[in-house]
Symmetry: C2
Subunit: 384 residues, 2 copies
């Protein structure tokens, strides 16, 4: 018996006053209320959370039990796959339902990043690289290197990176939960300046996603349960992990991502042309560009085409990151994968409000941990 | 389709020269070799690991892929439930098989603790308590408080705690992988001294488990696969999480543990009297004493009886911690739950060597995260 998503919750993303525990409880309460189920019915809880020193709570799985006494004694487990921890929680929860171990599951993704300063957050995130070879290298530097390698192989694509930032900022204007609801111009994004400095050349500030607090939650139930107002199911869900050391991979493309997409398309029996929209992992604009290729929108090295021909724009054939993406919606790392599944579920059930793509039937999610190390590709569609 | 355990690996526990990555690979390689399967056949990997700052590797799920190129692209996920992270990995892996998401799964539990000094380790472990109310309180202090509460309710049981330490040290003499293979006398354990100081009164040094490096691994396959030399299956497997704050729980007994045992007995259709042995979570001797009660060996407050009548001794009716337990085998926290499942699987398949209990058919595992917060109870038996 597969799982379907029947409720969701989502805090605003940004620098928030709420504590880590409060964020978890807020998103979970919303999801439970929307699903309309009794907390006593929830028989498993999964928390996606990276941490790595960003909050002192090193054993966070049971925090959400404080929301309601009826949650006491419910199995609760934290999963971690760096910035894909949220999807790791979704997938583990789905397996619990498919296994018959649980029938009604609560999934939460949460991160509180702004308790540390930028330097502290950068250090915490750097723990997600291969320490033996890459210790002390920040993620902007890692993706700066990847960008340089990509540019060497395929030419300078700085303008496309700027256009990706412009697009995601423009999309976020319609998302009330987004951290950055401010349009940015192509010239601003494409020109290093005092206000848009090079963070790790050739990546500029506008090429980097945000430091965010936030949480998102889902209630999933076994597909034979009925009586829910909205339901979204998994047409496909595939996870692929690649070697952690960058030295063992060709970093001009995202091999694990491409494989996850291929397997998901296979499972769903469709191609990229069948998708109505996708939420993908734009931790840096270069990542979104390389994901265009991994998902089959363009051959390797030619991802820029998907932007230049308008495919990925909000009014294009396959809008990418209508939510604003990690770039403008925000990127509380453990929450991101769950947030993406919320956004996709809203779209395929017609509940996306100002972000809605009319008639959206198939929405893809691609969530990534590290530099293409953990790769999760889901394809959601409405269920009765 | 349920899962069965068909291979295992286990490094020695102790202060080891091997790195965290090497520990993971060593245990995994042993388990794969014993199972006799091609690494290409492994379709999911689960890592149980606490970390909390003990190693800089904050994104460890994919480290084991370096063991063999055929593991590239295999889904790999870390799970964490404090000192029960190892069992969390076992349970998630079993669900993946029961869900049909995987057929052959590699499970690893690993921790490298001795890179930090004792103060650093104590601080890292303290992250597993409820930070809002219990920050700065060490785990020995937490279990010291629990011991005081228990003694106030049921009288001073220091002598029983000492006997538990003596028993587990004696058992470990036969375990070549144990960290502490040294007999200790009742008088030594029961008398605070320069060599056995009070760590958190009334707990003495000999009441506390060890700081350890180590890893353990399992290969599990779907039960319809045959041709393995040894196989152990799950007669029952139950997880219960309790509230994280101690202020919300009556700490004179382990309510979540008792519930996990009850549910496991129910699932297995048996009682504590049917068990042949158990590996239980003696992070502190008081925990083992309280687990005697949670598992039904004695009424609440009378756990000492299980020791005084010899039930739990190596030659008793229900030997507890034949391996030496966390007390003497060692307690690399993320590895412990997997190690317990290895020990139990060895016993029910007659492969426990010098630790073997003759004719053992049913072995229980009880692994705990925090002060009774995450509770996992498995009952293993041989499978064809």
């Amino acid at each position: 018996m597969d799982a379907k998503i029947v409720g969701w919750g989502h805090t605003p993303f940004g620098a928030l006053d709420q504590s880590f525990e409060e964020l978890i409880k807020t998103a979970a309460a919303e999801a439970i209320e929307m699903a309309g189920i009794d907390p006593a019915e929830i028989d498993a809880i999964w928390l996606g959370h990276f941490n790595s020193g960003m909050v002192p709570d090193a054993f966070a799985s049971s925090l959400v039990l404080a929301l309601d006494d009826r949650l006491r004694f419910t199995p609760a487990t934290r999963v971690e796959n760096a910035c894909a921890s949220g999807s790791a929680a979704v997938y583990a929860a789905r397996d619990a339902i498919r296994a018959g171990s649980a029938h009604n599951v609560l999934v939460i993704g949460a991160e509180k990043m702004t308790s540390l300063d930028t330097r502290g957050v950068t250090q915490a995130l750097a723990g997600a690289s291969y320490q033996t070879e890459e210790a002390g290298v920040s993620f902007p530097q890692i993706f700066g290197r990847i960008t340089n390698g990509y540019f060497q192989a395929y030419g300078d694509q700085s303008d496309t990176l700027a256009r990706i930032a412009v697009k995601n900022h423009a999309n976020a204007l319609a998302n009330p939960l987004a951290q950055m609801r401010r349009a940015v111009s192509f010239d601003f994004c494409n020109t290093p300046s005092d206000k848009n400095p090079l963070i790790a050349a050739p990546l500029r500030l506008t090429d980097c996603s945000l430091i965010s607090d936030g949480a998102a939650a889902l209630v999933m139930v076994a597909e034979d349960r009925s009586g829910f107002e909205c339901a979204a199911g998994f047409r496909a869900a595939r996870q692929v992990n690649d070697f952690l050391p960058m030295s063992r991979r060709d970093m001009t493309h995202l091999a694990g991502a491409a494989r996850a997409f291929e397997m998901a398309y296979d499972e769903a029996g469709l191609t990229v042309n069948d998708l109505d929209l996708a939420e993908v992992h734009d931790c840096f604009t270069i990542a979104e560009l390389m994901i265009y290729e991994a998902m089959g929108l363009a051959p390797q090295g030619q991802g820029a085409r998907a932007m230049s021909d308008g495919t990925v724009l909000a009014d294009g054939r396959l809008p990418i990151n209508l939510s604003g993406g990690l770039k403008a919606k925000g990127h509380p790392v453990g929450a991101t994968g769950v947030s993406m599944h919320v956004m996709a579920a809203q779209q395929v059930t017609g509940q996306a409000g100002p972000l809605q793509k009319a008639g959206a039937k198939l929405a893809a999610v691609f969530n990534m941990g590290g530099s293409g190390v953990a790769n999760y590709c889901s394809i959601l569609e409405a269920r009765s």
